[in-house]
């Protein structure tokens, strides 16, 4: 999977490294700002109220 992504990245190695880091940053941002905030309230370990 990762080897395949690496082969799709255009440009010489140095450019590819930058592109790969950008991809990782994009995925991490998507997780932190969209996916995790959505998942968080659906998980059972954060209920602090009674009744």
């Amino acid at each position: 999977m990762y080897a395949w992504i690496w082969r799709q990245l255009p440009g010489p190695t140095a450019v590819r490294v930058v592109e790969a880091l950008l991809l990782v940053a994009a995925v991490v941002a998507l997780l932190l700002f969209v996916v995790f905030p959505w998942v968080d309230p659906r998980l059972p370990f954060n209920d602090v109220t009674t009744g």
Binding site: F36, V48, T50
Partner: protein, 282 residues
């Protein structure tokens, strides 16, 4: 690695080798490698989620808490600020626990919805307001989202919980713990810190300073904690405070409950309550 015996051409330098003919074994290897990469990725995502829950939600929460505190200060300092019933998410009071240090200072927001609790401790809307007869009920996170109630289990009887409103300081103190209630007046109850703290009289059921209940036991935030709503007319009710959070830490199987009773009130144009200087627990 063995050479490609089937390729007869001379090795071409500065050119990528032609992809070798894929065999069944290659395909299996690709699938197995892809599967392994997916597992590794899921592991990293789980780690990232852990970091998000334990640290990053605290940063988000600290920003929201700062905004809520600024809005509340603004409202308090505005002489024309109205005293309407607050709406969900509004700051209503500040909560301090001197035993947790001088930096334990949270703006309590109206309501206990997920968004509200992500900004700070939340007031159960159907319970009394600070200082009123009845039970001022407040919920707070124990892990992540600022975790205001992380150390609630460390509170001892007579520890001060100071609630600041627009014009008044209310000093609540934690009620005697279950194993301290017997012999309270001759025991810990005789210490100066415990002035005004006694086991609640009849018709209150036993209301310990700290208890662990099941999630559905909403009666702990009733005006008569653990009792029915109509047990005592409002004018005869003590002014209590009840803090709730999840228990054990990292789980929501149970709830940790702290009950306190109002022992003093100070107008804010006078001196600050001495309880604010109560030392850190050693």
């Amino acid at each position: 690695m063995s050479g490609h015996a089937g390729i007869a051409t001379a090795p071409a330098r500065h050119r990528r080798p032609e992809p070798p003919h894929r065999t069944g074994g290659d395909r299996v290897r690709t699938v197995v490698r892809g599967f392994g990469e997916v597992l590794l990725t899921l592991g990293l995502v789980a780690l990232l989620f852990l970091g998000y829950e334990l640290y990053i939600t605290n940063w988000f929460s600290a920003m929201k808490q700062r905004d809520a505190t600024a809005a509340l200060d603004d409202r308090w300092s505005n002489p024309r600020g109205t005293v309407d019933r607050p709406v969900e998410g509004d700051g209503i009071a500040k909560l301090r626990v001197p035993a947790f240090g001088p930096d334990f200072d949270f703006t309590v927001l109206q309501g206990t919805g997920a968004d509200t609790l992500a900004s700070g401790p939340g007031h159960y809307v159907d319970t009394a307001m600070p200082g009123e007869p009845g039970n001022f009920g407040v919920a707070g996170h124990r892990v992540g989202d600022g975790a205001p109630f992380n150390d609630l289990d460390l509170l001892q009887s007579c520890d001060a919980v100071v609630v600041e409103t627009r014009d008044t300081w209310f000093v609540y103190r934690v009620l005697p713990l279950a194993d301290e209630a017997a012999g309270w007046t001759s025991g810990k109850g005789a210490t100066p810190q415990c002035r005004g703290v006694t086991p609640l009289p009849e018709p209150y059921p036993e209301v310990p300073g700290q208890q662990i209940v099941m999630p559905w036991q909403g009666e702990v935030i009733n005006p008569v904690p653990g009792g029915s709503e109509a047990q005592l007319p409002p004018e005869q009710q003590d002014s209590l405070i009840t803090l709730t959070t999840c228990h054990p830490r990292f789980s929501a199987e149970q709830r940790l409950i702290i009950h306190g009773v109002l022992t003093a009130r100070y107008p804010k144009d006078g001196p600050r309550p001495p309880a604010l200087a109560d030392g850190l627990r050693g």
